[in-house]
């Protein structure tokens, strides 16, 4: 008795599995639904909200008035461009310092002669696991000469005190100080990504290169770096997006007003003040203006991310 094999459409070329068909759709649907409900819809709704004034209930359509205000109102536009400029400085620290350190650490950690790799890797990653509010507060206290001057001087590190105003109280140094704390905290993330990228490079390539007479520096710049360009691009995008959404480190170290005198105000804190909490002391938030800020930044991020994506991820 021969059993006629049961026809399983999905395996036997039922029309849904044709190459180019849309059978894959059903696998995407759960993620898609989640994305639409929790990401796309709120984002689009925030664009809609930017055309309205007032809080829920008393909402009034005002067209582009919020955008006009954002770019022409003396106070609001001054704050916006100030925060925008600060954000670029904040970003530059992360892009140039944090990511360069990440590559450096990763190169050292993946070196064949490296001993105790796990230990150092853990050490570098630990700060990432601590809440920003905690590290921010600790650094705020450490950088405050009122509390740190005596202990630092007693161990001969008095030069770290800067001035009686402290690193965080001085207009000129506050933003750099906050940026460096953030770099210190997050350097583990790019390090991990670069470690993974370096490890995925085939040893044969390096071996072949060294047989051909390439010195370690040439191996690094001509082989290892070019091979991890897609990862560098991804890290650059993540850094870019994360920095334009940064908020917590400023909140913890310099108040949501970006003290001193808005020297550390970022788009995130600006958005929080206008859109979520309302300006002290009235505390009536303006979701419309807040949405206008976030929509503007969204558009700017898009303009920044797309070229980088095309440039670094296109080859795949």
């Amino acid at each position: 008795m021969t059993m006629k094999p049961k026809r399983i459409p999905a395996l036997q070329g039922g029309k849904s599995i044709k190459p180019g068909g849309i059978y894959w759709m059903r696998y995407v649907i759960p993620a898609m639904l989640f994305y639409v409900v929790f990401m796309a819809y709120p984002m689009l709704d925030s664009i809609r909200l930017s055309l309205y004034e007032g809080t829920a209930g008393a909402r009034e359509f005002v067209g582009l008035a919020n955008y006009t205000r954002l770019f022409t109102d003396e106070v609001v536009s001054k704050r916006f461009w100030n925060a925008f400029g600060n954000n670029w400085i904040f970003f530059a620290y992360h892009m140039l310092l944090q990511n360069a350190l990440g590559i450096l650490f990763a190169a050292i950690l993946t070196n064949k002669t490296m001993k105790g790799r796990q230990f150092y890797q853990t050490l570098i990653f630990i700060p990432c696991t601590v809440a920003v509010l905690v590290t921010g507060y600790l650094f705020k206290i450490m950088m405050n000469p009122q509390w740190s001057k005596a202990p630092l001087e007693s161990v001969g590190l008095g030069f770290l005190v800067h001035s009686p105003q402290g690193w965080l109280g001085d207009h000129g140094t506050a933003l750099s100080a906050v940026s460096l704390v953030s770099v210190w905290q997050w350097v583990g993330i790019p390090t991990m990504m670069f470690v993974a990228a370096f490890q995925s490079i085939d040893d044969d390539l390096i071996e072949a290169a060294s047989i051909e007479g390439a010195n370690p520096w040439q191996q690094f710049t001509r082989i290892r770096i070019p091979l991890i360009i897609p990862v560098i691009g991804m890290v650059a995008i993540l850094t870019f997006v994360a920095n334009f959404n940064a908020f917590d480190v400023i909140f913890a170290m310099e108040t949501p007003e970006g003290a001193p005198d808005y020297a550390t105000d970022l788009i995130g804190t600006l958005f929080y003040r206008y859109g979520v909490a309302g300006q002290h002391p009235v505390g009536i938030p303006e979701p419309g203006l807040g949405s206008a800020i976030s929509t503007t930044i969204f558009a700017m991020l898009l303009c920044g991310v797309i070229p980088v994506l095309v440039k670094t991820q296109g080859k795949e």
């Binding site: 001057k149 009686p164 105003q165 109280g169 108040t255 909490a277 309302g278």
Partner: protein, 403 residues
């Protein structure tokens, strides 16, 4: 954005309990999460007296306005809620969310005009029962004062002399700084202003009848500048919390802070307080700023109970019980002697006796808030002169009035 979403979801979860309340229970919304126990005692007392159960439902202060607004819009607002003063509170009433309190017995009779002013909207309706006010004081370390032979100063000149003496002895006289971006204005400058300007004069400045760079304001700013040498060297890194910390650690002899900070600054220190002294030749003033009231939800399912509770709060009997339980530093606004004998509240009330009480001057000129803070910061940093600062402020106000 993701973080924001998470916050919103969390708030929605917090709002859920309103849906599962037992029938006949009322809710009281508030931004003072730290007062659960105190207000709970007040509400328990009320239940004992009337049999009406009210549940306290606080939200974190910074999210309160937005959350309350969403609840009211969605028809799940609390039956009673803490109301902000001035524009923040009036805004809700103008949108029809509040029980109008004009007709609540006792409201018009038992409170002063100054108290009611903070709770009156543009149309002249009273939108909440005035509940508590805050003031500002100079807190001083009694031990340090005694060790250096310093008396509580009666005038601004004595105050400066005391500061000088402390500084000469190597003690930081004042703990205040500018890192918080608000306390230098609200606690320091606003506690000085009533010594120079009465409530009537303040109105003249608000309307533009008097100039904000006249000789009175110049004097206020010059006197403010005289305090600068007595601030800590590290002023740029000190906010309100750290100023209180310095004071309680004995690193400074005085701190100018709000009445609400009494428990924070007296933690482990023998702290006394006095209201900021007036210069010689000036009538002493007192900063008394209406801070919050209690409003009724116009859409409540229990309108009678809501009105009854508001009536009770507006009566001396209710206010007396409230005064016994609310935290030290919140001064009752009712025109009756309700403060418990020997309490901090009655001590603070005594400091106000015989003085021209007025609220923080900047509250009807909020467009100037930022300008004031940045000019004061600049004076402290030595980047601005008092004369320059008042000119900038006056110009900003004239531009605002011209709008």
């Amino acid at each position: 954005m993701k973080k924001l979403l998470a916050i919103v979801l969390a708030l929605m979860m917090l709002a859920l309990p309103t849906l599962v309340l037992a029938d006949g229970e009322l809710t009281l919304g508030s931004w003072r999460t730290e007062d659960g126990e105190a207000v709970g005692a007040l509400l328990a007392k009320y239940e004992e007296l009337t049999g009406v159960k009210i549940v306290y439902q606080p939200t974190v202060s910074t999210q309160y306005n937005a959350t309350l607004r969403q609840q009211l819009d969605g028809g799940i607002g609390p039956d009673l809620f803490y109301s902000r003063t001035y524009s923040g509170g009036a805004e809700l009433c103008e949108n029809g969310f509040n029980v109008i309190c004009d007709e609540i017995p006792g409201v018009k009779e038992n409170f002063t005009a100054t108290a009611l002013e903070g709770f009156t909207d543009k149309d002249g309706h009273i939108f909440a029962v005035p509940f508590a006010a805050v003031s500002h004081f100079v807190y001083y370390n009694k031990t340090i004062f005694a060790d250096n032979g310093i008396e509580v100063p009666a005038t601004f000149e004595d105050f400066l002399a005391a500061c000088e003496k402390l500084k000469a002895a190597g003690i930081t006289p004042l703990a205040n700084g500018i890192a918080g971006n608000w306390d230098i204005l609200e606690c320091v400058l606003c506690s000085m202003v009533p010594n120079y300007i009465t409530a009537e004069e303040r109105v003249a400045y608000e309307t533009g009848e008097k100039k904000l760079n006249d000789e009175v304001w110049l004097r206020i700013f010059e006197d403010f500048a005289k305090l600068v040498p007595y601030l800590p060297e590290t002023y740029a890194s000190i906010d309100e919390e750290q100023a209180d910390m310095m004071f309680t650690l004995g690193q400074a002899a005085m701190v100018i802070d709000g009445s609400w900070s009494y428990s924070a600054v007296s933690d482990g220190v023998d702290a006394g307080f006095f209201s900021f002294p007036a210069p010689e030749g000036y009538a002493a003033g007192f900063s008394l700023h209406p801070d919050f009231g209690i409003a009724g939800n116009a859409a409540s399912a229990h309108p009678e109970e809501v009105k009854a509770f508001l009536t009770w709060l507006a009566s001396p009997e209710g206010a007396k019980i409230a005064a016994e339980v609310i935290p030290a530093g919140f001064l009752p606004l009712i025109n009756a002697d309700v403060a418990p004998e020997g309490s901090i509240i009655s001590e603070m009330n005594a400091a106000a006796e015989g003085k021209n009480a007025d609220r923080r001057f900047v509250w009807n000129m909020l467009a100037l808030y930022d300008t004031y803070v940045s000019e004061l910061n600049a004076i402290v940093r030595g980047e601005q002169t008092p004369a320059g600062a008042v000119d900038v402020i006056n110009a900003a106000w004239e531009a605002e009035l011209a709008k």
